[in-house]
Assembly symmetry: C2
Homo-oligomer: 225 residues x 2
DNA sequence: CAAGCCGGTAACTAAACAGTTACTTGATGG
DNA sequence: CCATCAAGTAACTGTTTAGTTACCGGCTTG
């Protein structure tokens, strides 16, 4: 979703006539719009994002954007849906039940943190959507079932840990996931105000690594007997 | 923020210089604009907030808004600064060092959670400011010293706990505060998308209380020996 | 080979926007 | 009692915005 080599220069939208034929590529155009929209919405929010800016970033124009996605709101919802599909798909590949319960939870915590770290646009989109009280996400039908799998798998691992006597009986799957997500989300999405008010650059590798270890430590400390 | 129960029934007592009619009350107008702006920015972000809407909510007009605050950006910064002053001021009144270390930390966790719960506009403003990478907060000079007090006091409590042997030696004040803030912030600011995708209404009192207990539990579990 | 379809361009429009200006109203002091 | 000044109003302005329309040109196919 990120690279797509091509002539990624924003300023140059002018192309030679002979080259135009090569640019008639609907799927590429569609994908370019979606990627440009992801960045624009992530950087500026729903209210701040500019349709013209998305078209320019995608190396196309508004006509195509409206052609493929209807309007600004539908494009935004598409972007949001794709973002969720991205993390949940990667998550499934983990198979946290294959290891010991303790390792499984630690693995999930590490994965979530690193995914957040590598996909700042996902965090940003979540923030925007929550500012609007999930106004658009609520309209999406296809997302509901995506998430039940996560809780189901997590629940199994916790049950196994409880049986083995390594986890406390009160450990709740949703609480555990929210704990992991909280610690990663807040640190990264609020890094700018936090770095400013506490005078410490939180994005520095040293601090980043320390927080990664902290997340695993806190998560496990909160459920271990 | 105000004592705006009455609209200005002051004619009965003596006639000071500041005696005004109900229609001419600069301080009330200023305060009304600030409060209206807080709500508008919290609900719509910087890009989505409308100057006309703020003026209307404040029961005045744009002319006054520009007169008192300069422009939209300065008004926004003022709103943000006041929000920070609000939480840090309330925090100071806690005196977490007066109790046992364990109680002190628990108290701070409870306070932070409840403050977040009662001031959703604060969370929203933080989200907006971080979307813009602290662009405006960075320009604020008067905020830096507000926050060192918090870390200092927290640090003292942790040290005391370490000496008494109840806290682990590696407990770090900033990490502890970030842990508390993370758990409260994420749950509340992301409640809309979370409730939607997990099909559980997180703002229900039952779940709210459970999460409050969870925050205290996690925080203490992560630093206790 | 022409008809029309499809990917694409660019200029346009109506509305919304931040910020300004010209004006009103009423209190105060000389 | 009028000159002055500050609080407040409302209409205006230039620009930006989401969304539309008119058009272009090569490719496919009957």
């Amino acid at each position: 979703m990120n690279d797509s080599g091509e002539n990624g220069e924003k300023k140059r939208s002018r192309r030679p006539v002979a080259e135009r034929t090569a640019h008639r590529d609907p799927e590429r155009t569609r994908a370019a719009i979606l990627e440009a929209a992801t960045r624009e919405f992530a950087e500026n929010g729903m209210g701040g994002a500019r349709v013209d800016a998305i078209a320019e970033r995608a190396g196309t124009n508004k006509r195509m954007l409206y052609h493929y996605f209807g309007d600004k709101e539908q494009l935004y919802l598409k972007v949001l849906e794709e973002a969720y599909v991205g993390i949940r798909t990667a998550e499934r590949a983990l198979h946290i039940g294959d290891r010991s319960p303790e390792e499984g939870i630690g693995e999930l915590a590490l994965f979530t943190w690193r995914y957040f770290l590598q996909h700042p646009e996902f965090l940003s989109l979540l923030g925007t959507e929550n500012l609007h009280r999930a106004r658009w996400l609520r309209q999406s039908v296809r997302l509901k079932e995506l998430h039940s799998h996560l809780i189901g798998e997590l629940s199994d691992v916790l049950e196994q840990g409880k049986k083995q006597g390594v986890f406390i009986q009160t450990a709740d799957p949703l609480h555990v996931y929210l704990t992991i997500a909280s610690l990663g989300y807040f640190y990264l999405s609020n890094q700018y105000t936090l770095s400013t008010i506490f005078g410490r650059d939180l994005i520095e590798p040293t601090h980043l690594n320390a927080w990664e270890r902290h997340i695993v430590h806190v998560t496990l400390a909160s459920i271990k007997r």
